[in-house]
């Protein structure tokens, strides 16, 4: 009742959330590949990119999971295709 720390179940939920982000992304074959394809399609409408040098990673730290995409841009299009 007088504990100042967060209840331990909140930690359990938060840890599980992060663990499963990773587990599911790794296990589900093709998920990241498919995501990569769709990102390329979406971005290519606006900018010309070096497709072969794109890096897409799922990173997790103690407190958060993030999708990091490094997409080298060749040029910005004048008008949206």
């Amino acid at each position: 009742m007088f504990r100042d720390e967060t209840p331990s179940k909140n930690q359990a939920v938060e840890r599980l959330r992060l663990i499963l982000v990773h587990d599911r992304a790794k296990v589900s074959t093709g998920l990241l590949e498919q995501l990569r394809g769709e990102i390329i399609n979406a971005i290519s409408k606006y900018v010309e990119i070096e497709e072969e040098n794109i890096e897409i990673e799922l990173n997790a730290t103690e407190s958060k999971a993030e999708l990091v995409a490094n997409i080298p841009v060749v040029k910005v299009r004048r008008a949206v295709e």
Binding site: P7, S8, K9, A12, L20
Partner: protein, 262 residues
């Protein structure tokens, strides 16, 4: 044919199979329980039938015994409940998924329910147990490791084209949930997002009933037994409200609405 699985060991698969099987038989269904945990058989002990085993699953697969019926052990309490025990001295490779399918095919004409107790893990034993399954019950406890493994198993079941597994949350401790030291049903439903079949409270009676070899579902004073009776009723299509474990009647009502709204 329903497979009872979990990924992680020690979360209560065997106890669940014994109680659901017995519970369905109490409702006059003809039930056979198959122990697919070759090498580490336990369902016979939980059922109190360990002294009656003559033939086992591997004998049936290898046709050492003339028919699958020769290996079926009739329960000592209910005449419409049967056990097909696992072999104790062999390993998971002793049978193949195809043999499992053939055995289940032979049994399914005759039985209303075929329940398979799946071994822990995701290797051959899992493949065998799931091979003939049309439905799956995933058992988990409210712990990070068990829920993580349950999530993995749900993914693997999808790969085997079992898309709608249902969940039993086992060994819930209302006192710990109230203190915020245990994940509750809502937390786990959020994470796993599959339909809930039942919540089984942690109950000393389970240990006592395993000591005796009598499933808790037969005991009218056991909280876990009551939970298993409710699970069986839901399997039979009845709508039974979920047991209130934290003294807030509204919580499970809301949860039910959530489920029905799906």
């Amino acid at each position: 044919m329903i497979v009872v699985t979990s990924g992680k060991g020690g979360v209560g698969k065997t106890t669940t199979v014994a109680n659901i099987g017995t519970g369905l038989a109490l409702r006059h269904k003809k039930v056979v329980m198959i122990d697919a945990d070759i090498g580490l058989r336990n369902l016979d002990v939980v059922m109190g039938l360990e002294n009656r085993i003559i033939y086992d699953l591997v004998d049936v697969a290898e046709k050492t015994c003339r028919s699958v019926h020769k290996a079926l052990i009739k329960d000592k309490r209910l005449s419409n409940l049967f056990l097909l025990p696992a072999a104790q001295t062999r390993n998971k490779d002793a049978i193949s998924p195809e043999q499992m399918v053939a055995i289940v095919d032979e049994l399914k004409e005759e039985f209303d329910y075929i329940l398979v107790d799946c071994p822990a893990g995701i290797e051959r034993g899992f493949d065998n147990a799931v091979a003939a399954a049309t439905e799956a019950i995933v058992v988990t406890t409210p712990e990070v490791s068990a829920v993580r493994d349950a999530d993995r198993i749900i993914g693997l079941l999808q790969d085997k084209e079992i898309y709608d597994p249902v969940l039993i949350l086992n060994r819930l401790r209302p006192d710990m949930v109230r203190k915020g030291d245990m994940m509750d049903v809502d937390d786990i439903n959020d994470i796993l997002a599959i339909k809930l079949l039942g919540i089984v409270p942690d109950d000393e009676e389970i240990i006592i009933s395993t000591n005796k070899g009598e499933p808790a579902v037969l005991n009218n004073h056991s909280k876990a037994g009551e939970a298993f009776r409710n699970i069986v009723r839901r399997m039979e299509g009845e709508e039974v409200p979920f047991m209130s474990v934290n003294g807030e009647p509204g919580l499970f009502g809301r949860f039910l609405k959530l489920l029905n709204g799906k």
